[in-house]
Subunit: 221 residues, 2 copies
């Protein structure tokens, strides 16, 4: 029984890693759609979101079945619960990529972002995608150091996010309120995506070490 | 054993209801701090947030212990997992109230909100507080109709939230970009708070009926 259990747990982890790669792919396309006002790419992200939602539901069902049939205790129990929490964060990352894609679609054929901030979104997009890809690796490897290293990339996202506010609130800002509002929301989507990625990484540290390294909190601004 | 189990489950639900009342109180004070530029009230919300975080951690520990010691199956298992998810949403509601309080503190002694939008935040604040209070009732009563009725209040929050964008993006908006950015973020905090309240309500419907009425999704804008 224990062996069957560990096989199932590995399956769950593999599905989880796959969800993270799906979230990475969604954010990659959504960022490209945003930067290049590419409507068909935006539509693709919007259409694909259901797949991540379904993967989460499936993952949760499997985790429930595992709990009900195997009644794991101690570390095994915490592992299953970490998987359930991680699946929730990964679904949320998919939603945030979806929000970016919808913003790109809403302004199409206009570009959503004025020139001076495009480079910041390009960089946050790259960081978010890389974070989600690394999270997939961490889920598979349970590498505690790699999980901890996620925070550095998250710090860089936070830094860009904070800088965006100084750009749009500058007295020389000449792109108006509507663009500033879009940038505010989009910046938050990228920042939250990175937070959730770190949070999944922390859950995996917990699975590996039995210790939870504090919850990831978003910034207020 | 089953009886001890149900007593523990009732305890968990009582703690959950208490967390919802804490979130309601936090949002009530945060909104007052925001509307009246009341620094000491804002500080109080900021200082109290740890209590909701601790309540969530305690709740999670108890749920884990219950799973490990009682190995519940079927509906009982789903109930415990619903409690774990609900505690996460309630903690998040506390965080969102915290964000509102921090926004009030950041602009102090200036008012964060220009006059034309104050009434909208007053109303969203009331709706959010009422939602969290009703969620506490629903957790205790498992009243499916009351849980479903939460969506109406959430719809009203969404409506105000959408309207805020038309106000700040109007060509006659004369309060500048910084205020628009604050309003954008604050509006989202109130909107997300209501979403999480509805999501807890749905988890409780699930506990009562065994059927999950779809996930609560936030709006993109």
């Amino acid at each position: 029984m224990r062996e069957a259990y560990h096989v199932e747990l590995e399956d769950l982890a593999a599905n989880l890693a796959d969800m993270s790669l799906q979230a990475a792919a969604a954010m990659k396309k959504a960022t490209q759609a945003l930067l290049e006002a590419d409507l068909s790419l935006a539509e693709q992200v919007i259409g694909d979101d259901q797949k991540i939602d379904d993967a989460r539901a499936e993952n949760e069902e499997k985790a429930y079945a595992l709990l009900a049939l195997q009644a794991p205790v101690a570390t095994d129990l915490r592992t299953v619960l970490a998987v359930i929490h991680a699946a929730e964060s990964l679904e949320r990352m998919g939603d945030l990529a979806l929000h970016v894609a919808k913003a790109a679609r809403r302004r199409h054929p206009q570009a959503t972002l004025p020139e001076p901030v495009r480079k910041y979104f390009a960089e946050m997009g790259e960081l978010d995608v890389r974070l989600a890809e690394k999270v997939a690796d961490v889920i598979k490897s349970r590498d505690v150091e790699a999980a901890r290293a996620l925070e550095e990339e998250d710090d860089r996202v936070d830094e860009i996010h904070r800088h965006l506010f100084t750009v749009i609130m500058d007295k020389d800002w000449e792109h108006g309120v509507a663009a500033a509002v879009d940038i505010t929301l989009l910046g938050r989507f990228y920042e939250r995506f990175a937070d959730h990625a770190v949070s999944v990484g922390k859950r995996m540290v917990f699975v590996a070490t039995g210790k939870m390294p504090g919850y990831a909190h978003d910034e207020d601004l």
